[in-house]
């Protein structure tokens, strides 16, 4: 049943919208964005944490020192990027699944997804740490969602 004078939406646009709304696409997008952001953060914060170098490094010529520093920076930023990507993917995936299950779009999807993500990330450190992680991440996610949804 089409409204009069409305142009039919081309099939490609509908297909693109369907793909963009799917959970898998959102997880992939969050993973890639998390990776990029984590890489930037890692590169920035790696300058603050100097691992105790082997003093022999300082004896080597400038180029070697630069190469060693660069290698350390890349390793650190890669590990941060990976962590951010995993966090982003888990959060986005759980939020999408919860929203699809509830068939509602409100602020509590982010809270529940944050709790699950926090618990999963802190699971290795025991149940108490998982609870604290859940509460913390849920509060963080709710705050950000509230800020983004205010009018």
């Amino acid at each position: 049943m089409a409204f009069p004078n409305k142009e039919p939406v081309p099939k490609e646009v509908i297909y693109m919208q369907m793909v963009q709304d799917s959970c898998i696409f959102k997880v992939a997008l969050s993973g890639v964005a998390g990776f990029a952001l984590g890489g930037l953060f890692g590169m920035f914060f790696s300058s603050f944490e100097m691992t105790p170098y082997d003093p022999a490094v300082y004896e080597q010529p400038m180029k070697q020192q630069l190469k060693a520093t660069a290698k350390d920076m890349i390793k650190r930023s890669f590990s941060t990027a990976k962590n951010f990507a995993i966090v982003g993917a888990i959060f986005s995936g759980t939020e999408c699944i919860i929203e699809e299950y509830r068939a509602k779009n409100d602020i509590y999807n982010g809270t529940a997804a944050g709790c699950i993500t926090g618990a999963v990330l802190a699971a290795k450190a025991g149940p108490q740490a998982a609870l604290i992680g859940c509460a913390g991440f849920a509060a963080f996610s709710t705050a950000i969602d509230y800020y983004l949804r205010r009018e």
């Binding site: 049943m1 999408c96 929203e99 699809e100 068939a103 509602k104 779009n105 409100d106 999807n109």
Partner: protein, 105 residues
């Protein structure tokens, strides 16, 4: 749900008979179209009230709302079917019972 239930292939007798049949077909088709349009707008109204909360952030449907509308339309048709079946059963029972009582009275 066909629009022209009797088809256009009724080869009747004289032209006047064909005219009467065509008029009846047209009337039935009009009724059916009206029924379908009414059902469509009822579904749109009901699912809109159920699924779309009054605070609008953007113009496009997000994932939760799309899923809700899919389920709403499916449920509406299922309810339609079930109520139709229940009514039919009652009609049959009433028809049978009515015939018996009518005969007895």
């Amino acid at each position: 749900m066909s629009f022209y239930p009797f088809g256009g292939g009724s080869s009747g007798g004289g032209s006047s008979q064909q005219q009467a049949v065509n008029a009846q077909n047209v009337a039935m088709a009009e009724n059916e179209l009206e029924m379908i349009t009414d059902t469509f707008y009822r579904i749109v109204d009901s699912c809109y009230k159920k699924c779309i909360p009054p605070k609008y952030i953007e113009g496009e449907l997000n994932k939760g709302e799309s899923v809700c509308i899919d389920r709403c339309v499916a449920k509406y048709f299922e309810v339609n079917t079930k109520v139709g079946e229940a009514l039919q059963k009652r009609g049959q029972q009433a028809g049978v019972g009515g015939a018996v009582t009518g005969f007895g009275a």
